[in-house]
């Protein structure tokens, strides 16, 4: 994928306000299509319907299914998808998950628009400009 191609992102967070913030952060970029899910189950159902995504943004801590479990199941359907975890405390991420895979990154909450965009660009394009 190069920088000019459209990007399809699946964002899953049980807090609608966080999804609204992600949407706002990416609203100015016409290349980005954002699909939102309020639970891991919802996200997996979208994947199962055949939708293809370049990136999964997942809250690490959700009531029905933790973000790393969502990522594991999503990867089973699409091994090439990249994953950005949103976490309130990175130490907690590494308690449950000893290492990040090559195509994974995490972003601490609270996050800024620039921080989110840079993290996405790093994962998708290898540099910090989306």
């Amino acid at each position: 994928m190069d920088d000019g191609q459209p990007v399809v992102i699946l964002a899953v967070d049980d807090e609608p306000g966080v999804l609204a913030l992600v949407r706002r952060c990416l609203a100015d970029d016409e290349r980005v299509t954002l699909i939102e899910a309020l639970s891991g189950k919802d996200a997996l159902e979208r994947m199962a319907k055949g939708a293809a995504f370049d990136l999964l943004i997942a809250d690490l801590r959700m009531p029905d299914m933790e973000g790393d479990e969502v990522a594991r199941r999503v990867r089973a359907l699409d091994p090439d998808i990249k994953v950005l975890y949103l976490t309130s405390h990175a130490d907690r991420l590494f308690e449950a998950k000893q290492q990040l895979w090559e195509d994974e990154a995490y972003l601490d909450k609270p996050f800024t628009r620039e921080g989110l965009r840079e993290a996405i660009a790093l994962l998708l394009f290898g540099h910090t400009t989306l």
């Binding site: 807090e15 306000g17 966080v18 609204a20 913030l21 706002r24 952060c25 801590r61 309130s88 405390h89 130490d91 907690r92 308690e95 909450k109 609270p110 996050f111 800024t112 628009r113």
Partner: protein
């Protein structure tokens, strides 16, 4: 402890939403926008609340081992 963790996470989420949106509005407001001072107060208060939350609900993961 699990309840404290969840409360901290949920509260931080809400503060993050306030911070995130106010940061975007500040970035988009011109220097002469009369609402800029109000937005800065919202952003400052939310930033202070994040620090206050860390004091009220210290995260065990922050404790030196």
């Amino acid at each position: 402890m699990a309840d404290n963790d969840k409360n901290r996470h949920d509260f931080k989420n809400q503060l993050g939403i306030i911070l995130g949106f106010s940061e975007i509005l500040l970035a988009e407001a011109s220097a002469s926008d009369p609402r800029r001072d109000d937005l800065e107060e919202i952003h400052r208060a939310a930033t202070a609340a994040v620090a206050l939350l860390a004091r009220l609900y210290p995260d065990p993961a922050d404790t030196p081992r």
